[in-house]
């Protein structure tokens, strides 16, 4: 097997008695876009900082192309970071900021200038090369921070919450620009974010962390369709979790006595719940259709509309069954145009059994 580019091998970081990172192992291949995602305090930023050398692991090993990296000082590593606060040098012009790293490498001034020019051009900040940092908007600062890191032409780029300080409309634009840069440069991107929409929109693989441990690693689609545990299923959002008593049926499928009624789902290929045990079924909200009347096939739950939430062209409908069970459905606006959704109105929520999956026991 080829050596992965970056390996984290049972890495832990303790501050005093507190474990910021408890035990983390994963590998990153060259050219991947990896997102480290989790709630604040989950250890994702500490993990990133350990890769940059700004924090020292308390135990475990970080390797780059198979070589132990732990003792390398931050200035000896080739892992520029785009800071959440941008951390631009306030007393230097845009150009001097972009040239800073090149200067440290003792690149002659003309080459330095040429490279800086190239990257400023590429990131659309060449127009204010001579301006000071305090004369820039947030989005422009972000670009300077990116240019400053990328001018080093590194084999990996580290990003710490790169979009969190931007206005919502800029965020979406920057997000697609990061994806484009990643594709064009072909280098490894490691991005820390607390937002699952950012992580899922940009990354090839997502590492979900909680309380210093990895909860799941996988491609966005995989994580969405096969959450490894309850934390992941709840954290990525948009999932219905039904917990109840399982019953294995004659055809091998499993029926679950849940708060929303009896629902069906296929048994997982291995380790499915046995009859009489408690199991949790996950049904993505975007797989639940709404109709005014049932058809008698698949899973059908009759419930009353509690709230209707519009986010852009997506509508989330919160429902409550007679028995007090809650579920939600996410549809795009045009799909439910003809379905009356007044609050209190009874509707039928339906989904095919194959859309649900059980969390591993």
């Amino acid at each position: 097997m080829a050596t992965p580019m970056i390996e984290l091998d049972r890495v832990a970081k303790h501050y005093g008695g507190q474990a910021a990172v408890a035990d983390v192992s994963f590998t990153i291949d060259k050219g991947e876009f990896i997102a480290l995602m989790g709630p604040s305090g989950c250890g994702k930023t500490t993990t990133l900082r350990m890769i940059a050398g700004l924090d020292q692991p308390s135990s475990g090993e970080i390797r780059l192309w198979g070589r132990r990296l732990n003792e390398d000082a931050p200035w000896e590593r080739d892992a520029p970071l785009v800071w959440q606060s941008y951390a631009l040098f306030p007393f230097l012009s845009v150009r001097k900021n972009v040239e800073f790293g090149l200067k440290q490498r003792r690149l002659p001034a003309p080459e330095r200038r040429k490279k800086a020019e190239e990257w400023m051009e590429r990131l659309g900040i060449a127009g204010f090369a001579e301006r000071g940092i305090d004369q820039l908007s947030g989005g422009q600062r972000q670009r300077v921070a990116l240019a400053r890191a990328l001018a080093l032409e590194p084999e990996m780029l580290l990003l710490d919450e790169p979009l969190s300080a931007l206005d919502p409309h800029l965020r979406v634009r920057m997000q697609s620009e990061l994806v484009r840069l990643h594709r064009e440069l072909g280098i490894t991107f490691i991005c820390v974010t607390h937002s699952h929409s950012e992580a899922f929109a940009m990354a090839d693989r997502v590492v979900i962390m909680n309380e210093g441990r990895i909860q799941q690693i996988g491609a966005p689609r995989e994580i969405h369709r096969r959450a490894a545990n309850r934390f992941v299923a709840e954290f990525v959002g948009g999932n219905n979790l039904f917990t109840g008593t399982a019953r294995v049926e004659a055809n091998g499928a499993i029926a679950l006595e849940s708060p929303v009624g009896t629902v069906h789902a296929p048994a997982p290929s291995e380790g499915g719940p046995a009859s009489g045990t408690t199991a949790t079924l996950v049904v993505p909200a975007d797989r639940i259709e709404l109709a005014s009347a049932g058809t008698g096939t698949g899973n059908e739950v009759t419930a009353r509309v509690v709230t209707v939430e519009f986010v852009g062209t997506t509508v989330t409908v919160f429902l409550e069954t007679e028995g007090g069970g809650e579920l939600r459905a996410q549809r795009s606006l045009h799909e439910i145009e003809n379905t009356p959704l007044a609050v209190g109105q009874p509707v039928v929520a339906r989904w095919s059994p194959s859309q649900g999956f059980f969390l591993p026991g």
Partner: protein, 268 residues
């Protein structure tokens, strides 16, 4: 006249009086330094530069001025270097006893200068520094370093700790970061500290008086002259000393004003 306008007028008059009270002695010194008469009395005896000519012809005053400039020059460089270092240690590191370190570093200006002068005299007498310019410089460094440290600390408080790490992250060694990031960032405060410590040293009388011996600085010379006779030359010296000190302090204030103006804009 309305109440508000009256109140405003009274406030203005009061402020003018306070300033007049503070500046009258200085202004009279400067005015009478150009007076042709031997005695400072009104009416003015006519404009003259004779007292300035007299002091520039007086070798003891010339020596005093040279000594003062040498001492101020050396003091401001050493004190600013030490103050910067002390402030950076405070910014960069956490360690046991840091509050004690800070308290000790800020202590010298709170000690009455007479005590400081006597202590320096006895101490320097033992190590063979008393009566030398180096001895005065040591005393002035002790007195003025805390001011330099306070100025640099104020500036460093505005430096995002991520910025230093960002420099490391971009391949700058700690030394390269010191000279490429920390010093340039602190430069206005460092310049202000140079001017302020120079001003403190140039004006300082008590320590210099105890320690200087035959190497009198200008303030010490002035007092020696005053003890002998009251000469209008004193006015001329006073005007010069005031001019130098106020220039240094105004420069320091301008630099600091630019700093705080920028900080306010960033926060706003």
């Amino acid at each position: 006249m309305s109440m508000a306008a009256l109140r405003r007028l009274l406030l203005l008059a009061y402020t003018a009086l306070v300033f007049a009270f503070i500046f009258a002695p200085i202004v009279s010194t400067i005015v009478f330094s150009f007076n042709a008469d031997r005695f400072p009395s009104l009416p003015w005896g006519g404009f003259s530069l004779q007292w300035y000519e007299a002091i520039f012809a007086d070798a003891t005053i010339q020596r005093g001025l040279t000594n003062s400039l040498v001492v101020a020059g050396a003091t401001c460089i050493i004190a600013t270097f030490l103050g910067f270092s002390a402030a950076y240690v405070d910014y960069r590191y956490r360690f046991l006893g840091k509050s004690v370190y800070l308290a000790l570093a800020a202590l010298p200006p709170t000690v009455p200068v007479v005590i400081l002068g006597v202590a320096l005299l006895t101490f320097e007498g033992r190590v063979g520094l008393s009566g030398t310019l180096q001895g005065i410089i040591v005393g002035h460094v002790v007195l003025s370093t805390p001011f330099a440290m306070a100025l640099v600390r104020m500036r460093l408080a505005d430096l995002d700790p991520d910025i230093e790490r960002a420099a490391w992250n971009l391949g700058a060694s700690p030394w390269a970061t010191m000279f490429g990031v920390i010093v340039p960032f602190c430069l206005p405060a460092i310049l202000a500290a140079l001017f302020l410590t120079a001003a403190v040293s140039f004006d300082e009388f008590m320590i210099a008086w105890f320690v200087s011996g035959v190497n009198e600085t200008l303030p010490v010379r002035v007092l020696a002259m005053l003890q002998g006779q009251v000469s209008p030359r004193i006015n001329a010296i006073g005007a010069i000393v005031f001019g130098v000190s106020i220039t240094l302090i105004v420069l320091a204030q301008l630099l600091l004003g630019r700093l705080s103006g920028r900080a306010a804009r960033r926060k706003g």
